[in-house]
């Protein structure tokens, strides 16, 4: 419904004018004292009520006349029943990933089954072709796509068709609100009285079945949803998540990668997962996803030289490809070096655990033996291991140098020599250990993890938060007395710590109360020792400043300033904008430049786009409370035939004027019509007739007197005869 004279609607409060006048200037009723209301009640007990009812009816009719007159002046035009004039159309095409699936058009249609997007574009193109002189149209998509230019309103059908030709399926979920917000902006700028929004979509349940807020469209805008029937694409598996291992990502080492696959459908999906890196190296693995289930699949990124890298993960073999792609990006580094001060035998099994092959080809950490602290620092290692007594015996300068090393991000590991005695020397205070107490256990004391969230346990923490340390025992140990800023991460069964961790600057200091030797403990014989040792030696993989995104979702917080987006892998994109998120509608790796600096964004396909289900019924929940009409799309020809019926308008003004006249006539008739007084039973006038007239009374009186005289005369005669 469009109000061509909407300004008149401001006069609607005048509808209350008769009521206001009635209340403000109503006639003051005179008081009439009566000895009794008996006679009134004989007339009609509800006479006054009837009069009051009639008065209010008259009042209501007067209000109705004013209301109808104002509404007629506002000239309502119902375009959903037909409307004339030049039209402004906004054609919104759903280009979400699900639109790439096949469609089944209604039976009886000549259209051959095609993709949903192809049907949508056919419909939109048909409307563009049906535009008449003066009509204008705009083409929008539900997923912002840099390839689709925003022309705004245009009457050039050729340009509009060119825009439609650029519309392709994306790998994102539809965002109806954003598209309709843009449609509202466009329609607000038009002066046309006839405004229409045509939405071509498959109304996929996951996108359109969720209640949302619809932007406020200009009054009278007709929203038509052309619902394209969905076809079955078969079993589908979607790439829901990609997670790189938190381990240090070392060059020339495979990098663990976990992929989470989901299956929103009702049939089991068997897929092949292909991991392909930027160097063309491929790894494939098969997986099966149960119906409406999810599986985690461990994968490995092929080993490659150091540097910035990206990997594409693709699922194949399922029925729908729009949710099968994902990317990860990361940086690999060359092998790091750890220096062991002193002899190899002073460190027990630690050098072997850190670097089994000494060169770091297996662990990414090369081990090197150096005689003193100065030489170790000169080698610029990532970590330094030093025996307890040597650390305690360092001069002040060497201690200060070691502390500087740790503050700068290095890691310092301190442990007793395997062949050392029970003497305990004092370590520098910044190590976090005030002292230690030597203990020996004939039967061995069990070792337990004290702080599961400690960095050194990052590779041993199970899903339930416990540390998979295994059954390790200690035959002898130095129970540590920790300062307040250090914490125990490994302890004896009685709770006394034997391994402490202290964060110092950007680095960490680990002090062990046990030598890494079977002479002290069985821990070096445990597989968990390898993970513990390497985690102590190297920090976790640095966050590569990579933004993981789902296609179509905006970047939060929004980039500011001049924003530039360029594809590094995946779909082609070279986009520039100001203070807005780039349209990342497809999976890929993108460089983002903004005031915040250069960042990478890895985008994977929206995982729910392959989900079955289509919104049924006459309303689309995602469009909120806004009035819209849902039409099942039966092809372009049928749609055009329906649309043409709306070209002729229904102007309600004449009807309203007619109704106003009828109401006015009714009001006049009712106001002038006296209330019919109730019938009173017929009055017989006798001797009290003097009340109503003297003649009747006189006649009755005369008659009664004559009768009485005759009676008296007869009685006198009877008495006389008796006497």
């Amino acid at each position: 419904m469009t109000w061509l004279g909407a300004a008149w609607l401001w006069c609607l409060p005048l509808v209350a004018a008769p009521v206001v006048f009635h209340l403000a200037f109503r006639r003051r009723r005179a008081r009439l004292d009566m000895p009794s209301l008996l006679f009134f009640k004989r007339l009609a007990p509800r006479l006054a009520a009837r009069k009051r009812l009639r008065d209010w009816l008259v009042l209501a009719l007067r209000c109705l006349v004013i209301a109808l007159a104002i509404l007629a002046l506002a000239r309502p035009n119902a375009f959903d029943f037909g409307g004339g004039g030049a039209a402004s159309l906004v054609l919104v095409v759903d280009n979400s990933a699900s639109m790439a699936m096949p469609s089944v058009v209604a039976a009886g249609s000549d259209d051959a089954p095609s993709t949903r997007l192809a049907l949508a574009l056919d419909g939109a193109a048909a409307l563009v072709g049906a535009l008449e002189s003066g009509d204008r149209a705009a083409v929008l998509t539900t997923v912002a796509d840099a390839a689709v230019p925003d022309l705004g309103m245009s009457g050039d059908a050729t340009r509009l068709r060119a825009v439609l030709d650029q519309v392709r399926e994306t790998e994102a979920a539809a965002s109806p609100a954003a598209a309709l917000m843009r449609a509202a902006q466009i329609l607000e700028a038009t002066g046309s009285a006839r405004r229409e929004v045509h939405l071509f979509t498959d109304a996929q349940e996951s996108d359109w079945g969720v209640a949302g807020e619809m932007p406020t469209l200009p009054a009278g805008t007709l929203v038509v949803v052309h619902r394209i029937a969905a076809g079955d694409a078969g079993p589908d598996a979607a790439l829901a998540e990609l997670r790189l291992s938190p381990h240090a990502r070392l060059a020339n080492r495979p990098i663990p990668l976990r992929a989470t696959l989901t299956n929103p459908g009702g049939a089991e999906a068997a897929v092949t997962i292909t991991v392909q890196d930027d160097g063309g190296r491929r790894v494939e693995r098969a997986a099966t996803v149960p119906p409406r289930g999810r599986v985690d699949v461990p994968l490995a990124v092929p080993a490659a030289p150091a540097g910035e890298r990206w990997v594409q993960v693709v699922l194949s073999g399922d029925g729908f490809a729009g949710d099968d792609r994902g990317f990860v990006a990361f940086t690999t580094s060359a092998a790091r070096m750890m220096v062991f001060i002193g002899e190899r035998r002073d460190h027990g099994a630690l050098p072997l655990a850190i670097a089994p092959d000494a060169d770091g080809n297996l662990s990414g950490i090369a081990a090197r033996m150096l005689p003193d602290v100065a030489a170790a620092l000169a080698a610029a290692p990532a970590a330094i291991a030093i025996p307890w007594d040597r650390c305690a015996g360092l001069d002040v300068a060497a201690q200060a140098a070691l502390r500087t090393f740790v503050d700068g991000g290095g890691r310092l590991l301190i442990a007793p020599r395997p062949a050392g005695d029970d003497a305990v020397a004092a370590l520098p205070a910044w190590c976090g250990v005030r002292g230690a107490e030597a203990s020996r256990f004939a039967k061995g004391e069990s070792l337990v993890a004290l702080a599961a969230d400690a960095d050194c346990w990052r590779d041993l923490v199970a899903g339930d938060g416990t540390v998979a340390l295994g059954r390790s025992r200690a035959g002898r140990a130095l129970a540590l007395d920790l300062s307040d800023d250090a914490r125990g991460v490994l302890g004896l069964g009685d709770g006394r710590p034997v391994l402490s961790e202290r964060a110092l600057g950007r680095g960490r200091v680990f002090v062990a109360g046990i030598a890494w030797s079977p002479l002290w403990t069985t821990l070096p014989l445990s597989p968990s020792f390898l993970a513990l040792a390497q985690a102590m030696a190297l920090p976790p993989a640095a966050d590569d400043e990579v933004l993981p995104l789902v296609a179509g979702s905006p970047i939060v917080p929004r980039p500011s300033g001049e924003v530039a987006a360029r594809a590094r892998a995946g779909a082609v994109l070279d986009w520039r904008g100001v203070d807005q998120s780039p349209p990342l509608a497809r999976a890929g790796v993108y460089e983002l430049r903004a005031d915040e600096g250069l960042r990478l964004a890895v985008v994977r396909a929206a995982p729910l786009e392959g989900a079955p289900g289509q919104v049924a019924g006459a309303t689309i929940p995602a469009l909120g409370a806004g009035v819209h009409r849902v039409v099942d799309h039966r092809g372009a020809d049928a749609m055009l035939a329906d649309w043409w019926t709306t070209r002729t308008g229904f102007d309600a003004a004449p009807w309203l004027i007619g109704l106003a006249l009828i109401a006015l006539a009714l009001e006049t008739w009712l106001a002038d019509r006296p209330l019919v007084p109730p019938q009173v039973h017929k009055v017989v006038l006798t001797d009290y007739g003097m009340l109503l007239g003297g003649r009747a009374h006189a006649r009755a009186k005369k008659k009664a007197d004559a009768k009485a005289k005759a009676k008296a005369k007869a009685r006198a005669a009877a008495d006389a005869s008796a006497a």
């Binding site: 005179a30 009439l32 009566m34 009794s36 009134f40 006054a48 007084p677 009340l691």
Partner: protein, 290 residues
């Protein structure tokens, strides 16, 4: 006599010659001018009956014996005085004045005073009672002018108040009235006719000669006002909104119908019914009703 509000001297003078006669046999205690329910020695022949031993022989009608060869004794009606009680309706509606020169209550009191004066003047006894929903005040019958004064004085003090219920009031008054007496009910009868009939029937059943003097103000029989008014009931305070212009004719008919029904009810209950308007002079009204 001392001047009373409701019986000024000029009215009393004009009442000379006015007589109130009983229609039914009265049970008076003294010799009077009214028919008694007993047989006596008046000149009014009543009946014959067979002679029984013990009757005085001079009572035998010898002429009848000569014709019929039967001893019949002639009997004559007793004539006695009557006791009249005037029952004045003093409900709030009686205090209303419309087109008349006074309120209905004032007129009723004047009528009652005049009736009592006439009764006493003709040698009968007169009593007074006022009522609304029940009997409010009652004065024993008096047979002399001096004993009439307290009742006349009491009439001067009567004020209209309360809601009326003629049926209940007359039923309550009936046991207090002298046996076979004259009962004059003066009221505006603004009650349902059935209620009026109930009270009158009770008095008539007790052997009283019942007179209903219906006092009406001409103003209550028509609607003189125009336009929309809020009519207020004098007794109940009830309000009703009416359009006088639309109801005038229907109101007049309703009032006439009510009067007709009251009349029928009274006559049907054995009473003598008289309608009197407040603009009718007292003596004229009394002469027409006596």
């Amino acid at each position: 006599m001392t001047a009373f509000k409701h019986l000024p001297a000029q009215i009393a003078d004009r009442l000379i010659g006015v007589r109130i006669a009983a229609r039914r046999a009265m049970a008076g205690s003294l010799q009077g001018a009214h028919r008694s329910n007993r047989h006596g020695a008046s000149v009014e022949f009543a009946e014959y009956r067979d002679y029984t031993p013990g009757d005085a022989p001079n009572l035998i009608d010898w002429s009848v014996y000569a014709r019929t060869d039967r001893y019949l004794v002639r009997r004559f009606e007793e004539e006695t005085n009557l006791v009249g009680t005037v029952l004045v309706d003093s409900s709030q509606s009686m205090a209303w004045r419309g087109l008349g020169p006074c309120t209905k209550l004032d007129y009723a009191c004047s009528l009652a005073a005049a009736a009592m004066y006439v009764l006493v003047d003709q040698g009968d006894r007169a009593g007074l009672a006022t009522f609304a929903a029940t009997v409010i005040e009652r004065h024993a019958a008096a047979g002399s002018a001096s004993s009439l004064k307290p009742m006349l004085a009491a009439l001067d003090l009567v004020a209209g108040r309360g809601r009326g219920d003629i049926g209940a009031a007359l039923s309550a008054a009936a046991p207090t009235l002298p046996r076979r007496s004259l009962a004059i009910v003066i009221s505006d009868c603004l009650q349902p006719p059935a209620s009026v009939a109930t009270g009158v029937r009770r008095l008539h059943h007790d052997g009283h000669d019942v007179r209903v003097w219906h006092v009406v103000d001409r103003g209550e029989l028509t609607l003189a006002q125009t336009g929309l008014v809020e009519a207020v009931d004098a007794e109940s305070g009830e309000r009703i909104e009416v359009d006088c212009d639309e109801l005038r004719e229907a109101y007049r008919r309703a009032a006439a119908a009510h009067l007709d029904e009251i009349r029928r009810a009274c006559l049907g209950a054995g009473a003598d019914y008289r309608l009197v308007h407040t603009d009718t002079p007292i003596d004229s009204a009394l002469r027409s009703m006596a």
